[in-house]
């Protein structure tokens, strides 16, 4: 399948109908789904109804949305009215929300065709999609490999070229790491750029929805469709949304790119990975960019900081799942607290429980100052690190991951899994935009290059990524093993 913008143009020219495109996408998904298992729920009726609605508008010459007729997948933590929304958890295995998230509403009004809800690590906690309560999703470039996580289903279905667009969420790397693993573009916007309303929370101060797409132009279009202030989300920011597609560039003349010294030492541990990134920077230089050394002195505390703040927020956010009002209930034999206990014991997986316990502990009186308050202070220092760095450069280029996709079951130690987010967490803590764009291959598997920009400078970041993508065209060099 082509890119989203190619499909949109073909539909606008009436070369193909949205219904034809949708059927083709549903067929493509159907062919590979037995081996990938990217979806928790497929929505063929809804998709076809939307496609016919788009076709009717075009037939009548009415204006259509910016994503008219483009097949789009959404991670299964975006509430979609009357459709199963599980968040990858048994505790919400039967949950059909009575309302839609703002992201879904904006996709609908952009006339995107939502084809299904993608698999994910339970409550977005994980880096491999193996923490899904239902089944793991496979990497379309290596069926023994993981697609990354937590937005693994979204990455896998776009990587398999079943659909050109998907929406994921990123808390500490959950868009960028799977995008890197699946040879696609993944964008984590500035915190506050995209509304969180109706997006099931993991860590409220870090969660951010963003595009996972076939190419940078699609990411620009999709971000433009879902971004913007939402009165329903008090943390969304009222900054105008530019047309991200307009500023995309083909060269990097005059662009100052920051290279993070602290990260170069870390990536040097794996010579193959180090070489890949060295080559990537060289490609950027060839496009006319100049380089500046920058340092992020507090980046090394990123993981520790993140694993205090995110679990603390999650321990509170996930308290509502008690079996009383919605979701799965396991009746207790004694009082209501017994019902809470049994429901939560049966409903949550190990990783979720681990983080709830961790976060509960971090917030306890007596530990709160030493852990949560201290972590917030480090977070402020990390923001200052980036402010200082961006005073000297326009964007930062750095590794997205420390390794290519690994095999299922390879990382049984939770801390080894947490380390997967080493290069992505600092940007999440600072709230700045960051993305992964296909950067080449190690051992024949995809690896992404990370590009980050100051807050609300997504256009600048996308422009640089676009120039790099057009010059290197890594994504097209490797075909999925399924199709």
């Amino acid at each position: 399948m082509e890119t989203g913008h190619e499909i949109r143009e073909a539909i606008a020219r009436r070369d193909r109908s949205a219904e034809e495109v949708t059927r083709a996408a549903l067929d493509a998904i159907g062919r590979v789904e037995p081996s990938l298992r990217a979806y928790i729920t497929l929505l063929p009726e809804r998709a076809l109804a939307k496609a016919r609605e788009v076709d009717a508008k075009i037939a009548k010459g009415e204006p259509v949305g910016k994503l008219a007729g483009v097949p789009t997948a959404v991670k299964d933590l975006f509430c979609l009215k009357d459709a199963l929304t599980t968040c990858g958890s048994k505790i919400l295995a039967n949950f059909k929300p009575p309302f839609s998230s703002t992201v879904v509403e904006r996709l609908d009004s952009a006339d995107a065709v939502i084809v299904g809800k993608t698999n994910m690590d339970e409550f977005a906690m994980g880096s491999s999609c193996e923490n899904s309560a239902f089944f793991p999703t496979r990497n379309p470039y290596d069926l023994e490999g993981v697609p990354g996580g937590s937005s693994g289903g979204s990455a896998s279905t776009v990587g398999a070229r079943s659909v050109p667009l998907a929406v994921g969420t990123d808390t500490g790397g959950s868009i960028r790491e799977p995008a890197s693993f699946c040879n696609i573009v993944g964008v984590k916007p500035t915190y506050g750029r995209v509304s969180r309303y109706g997006m099931i929370a993991f860590a409220s101060s870090l969660d951010q929805a963003g595009p996972m797409t076939a190419d940078v132009r699609d990411a620009a279009d999709l971000l433009g469709a879902i971004a913007g202030f939402d009165p329903m989300d008090s943390t969304s920011v009222d900054v105008p949304v530019p047309d991200y597609g307009v500023g995309l560039r083909d060269d990097l003349k005059g662009v100052r790119i920051g290279i993070v010294r602290d990260f170069e030492d870390s990536i040097a541990v794996d010579p193959k990975m180090a070489k890949l990134y060295k080559d990537a920077y060289e490609d950027l230089r060839k496009l006319g960019a100049t380089f500046v050394d920058v340092t992020l002195p507090h980046a090394k505390y990123g993981l520790a900081t993140y694993y205090l703040i995110a679990p603390a927020e999650c321990s509170s956010n996930l308290a509502r799942y008690d079996g009383t009002r919605y979701g799965v209930r396991v009746d207790g034999d004694a009082d209501v607290y017994a019902m809470f206990d049994k429901t939560r014991t049966a409903g949550f997986g190990d990783e979720v429980k681990r983080r709830i316990v961790l976060g509960t502990y971090a917030l306890c009186s007596g530990y709160y100052d030493a852990y949560y308050v201290r972590a917030q202070k480090v977070r402020t220092l990390m923001k200052h690190d980036f402010d200082t760095a961006f005073a000297a450069c326009d964007v930062i280029a750095c590794p997205a991951v420390s390794c290519p996709p690994f095999e299922l079951g390879a990382k049984s130690d939770p801390v080894a899994m947490y380390l997967m987010d080493y290069f992505t967490i600092p940007m999440s803590l600072a709230g700045i935009p960051a993305m992964s764009v296909p950067g080449g291959f190690v051992d024949g598997l995809p690896v992404g290059l990370q590009i980050c920009a100051p807050a609300f400078e997504e256009a600048r970041m996308l422009a640089v990524a676009h120039a790099y993508e057009q010059a290197t065209r890594h994504a097209a060099k490797l075909q999925p093993v399924v199709s």
Partner: protein, 478 residues
């Protein structure tokens, strides 16, 4: 030894704010609706939903703060108070922990004693558990009504400076009057829009250090606050007398049995794991907004009471009663202005109007009598158009059914009669009929005259000009 102990009480008062919508969503804030009809995904704590601050609730709280002389913080924040309870949809309550909207302030009791406030903060109310088929211990099932979940609630925390159950009651009454005046709550304790917990301890008279306190909950009327505090204080006195240690704990008030009972001890106390709510950015209020809210405050009960005494020359007691509600005070001022006689306005409202209202089961706000009508009635009495006695009848009609006093007077033929020829006949008739009283009067019993005057008035249906009656009688009886 118990004679040398003094009582120390601190009150935590929860007041539901009477905003149109809830604290963090658009649902109606209304008491008494069918269960679970004022709910939405946000106040049910559905996955993915987010709170949005109701600015009106912030305004109401700040106004309460200004009225109670608090310092209003231009910068505050909301925190999550984490604990599991089935009537709390998110299993945390959005509240304010270390940066409340107001600090300081005071409540001045009628005695002049000021109780200092610690803080007032804004939070969301919880839902309500309903034990189907009666009491918690016997019912088959617990049902939850979430209509109240998310209703804006302010918590007013006093310093431990209240010295007796009576003072506690006065404190609550002053708070209630102020809230009604500024119109931020209907403060009905029986509907739960005013709720109160008390911290109680005793200590040797004259010492500074606080004794071990107990927290009393479940008091649902001013009367039960007084009763619960009286009971708890005597329980603590008994503990001390018998050498028992007072345990720091939460105790419930059992209205039926008239005693407090242990609910949970300090060891079982929750760790609420407060932390700033990441869904809500800190709240900042600019000076102009705060200044405009402050300027919108009406005159408060205490100020108005003083003004009534000095401006209208009415007694302290009358001023207290007339200023208890803003409606009554406004009503009084309207009658005073319409009649041009504030003292008579006060006399009527404190006397005959009150009696009629009670007789008809009405209040000034539910009666159809307008201040203009009462004012006119007072003028009619002063101008001699009607006797005081007939005016009482008119007043009763006004209270019960409203209307125009002149029309009522005309309709009922109650105009005062001053024409001698009309009164002479009645006077003669009464003298003839009341021979005994006449004899008594002539024999030196001056009081008998009053009785005879009364009889003449009765015979005239209250219309006869009493001065004319008296003169005619004197002429005839010497």
């Amino acid at each position: 030894m118990s004679a040398a102990l003094e009582t120390v009480i601190g009150l935590e008062v929860h007041v539901e704010l009477s905003t149109k919508s809830k604290m963090f969503c658009g649902c109606l804030n209304e008491f008494g609706a069918d269960p679970n009809t004022h709910v939405c995904p946000v106040c049910l704590g559905m996955p993915g939903t987010l709170p949005v601050i109701n600015k009106r609730a912030v305004e109401f709280l700040c106004k309460a703060g200004f009225a109670l002389e608090c310092t209003v913080a231009p910068f505050s924040k909301f925190d999550r108070k984490n604990y599991f309870y089935p009537d709390m949809p998110k299993n945390y309550q959005i509240s304010q922990y270390d940066m409340p909207l107001t600090t300081g302030g005071r409540v001045v009791l009628p005695s002049g004693k000021a109780i200092r406030l610690n803080r007032i903060h804004l939070e969301e109310d919880t839902g309500k558990n309903v034990h189907a088929g009666g009491h918690m211990t016997t019912s088959e099932a617990t049902l939850i009504d979430y209509n109240r979940a998310g209703v804006p609630l302010m918590e007013i925390v006093s310093e431990p400076e209240i010295g007796s159950p009576d003072e506690a009651e006065q404190y609550l009454m002053v708070l209630r009057d102020v809230m009604l005046y500024i119109g931020v709550s209907d403060v009905k304790m029986h509907e739960g829009s005013l709720r109160c917990d008390a911290n109680v301890s005793i200590r040797p008279l004259g010492t500074k250090e606080l004794g071990t306190k107990t927290e009393i909950k479940n008091m649902n009327s001013f009367k039960s606050v007084v009763a619960a505090l009286e009971h708890e204080i005597s329980r603590q006195h008994a503990c001390v007398a018998s050498g028992e240690r007072i345990v720091q704990e939460t105790r419930g008030w059992d209205e039926v049995r008239g005693l407090t009972y242990s609910m949970r001890s300090k060891e079982q106390a929750h760790d609420y794991r407060y932390f700033p709510d990441p869904d809500l950015p800190p709240l900042s209020l600019d000076e102009a907004t705060l200044a405009s809210w402050r300027s919108e405050l009406p005159e408060l009960p205490a100020q108005r009471r003083e003004r009534f005494i000095t401006q209208y020359g009415i007694p302290q007691y009358d001023a207290n009663v007339l200023t208890q509600s803003r409606f009554d005070a406004d009503y009084f001022e309207a009658v005073a202005s319409a009649s041009g006689d504030p003292k008579q306005a006060s006399n009527w409202l404190m006397g005959d109007v009150r009696k009629s209202l009670e007789a008809h089961g009405l209040t000034l706000s539910t009666s159809k009598m307008t201040p203009a009508a009462l004012g006119e009635l007072i003028s009619m009495v002063k101008g001699g158009a009607i006797t005081g006695r007939a005016a009482k009848e008119v007043c009763d009609v006004l209270v019960a059914a409203g209307g125009d006093p002149k029309a009522i007077v005309e309709q009922r033929g109650l105009a005062q009669v001053s024409d001698e020829s009309a009164i002479v006949a009645i006077v003669d008739k009464v003298i003839a009929a009341q021979a005994e009283s006449v004899a008594a009067y002539k024999g030196g019993k001056a009081k008998a005259l009053d009785f005879i005057v009364g009889q003449v008035m009765r015979e005239s249906r209250g219309r006869a000009n009493v001065d004319v009656v008296k003169r005619l009688l004197m002429e005839r009886l010497g």
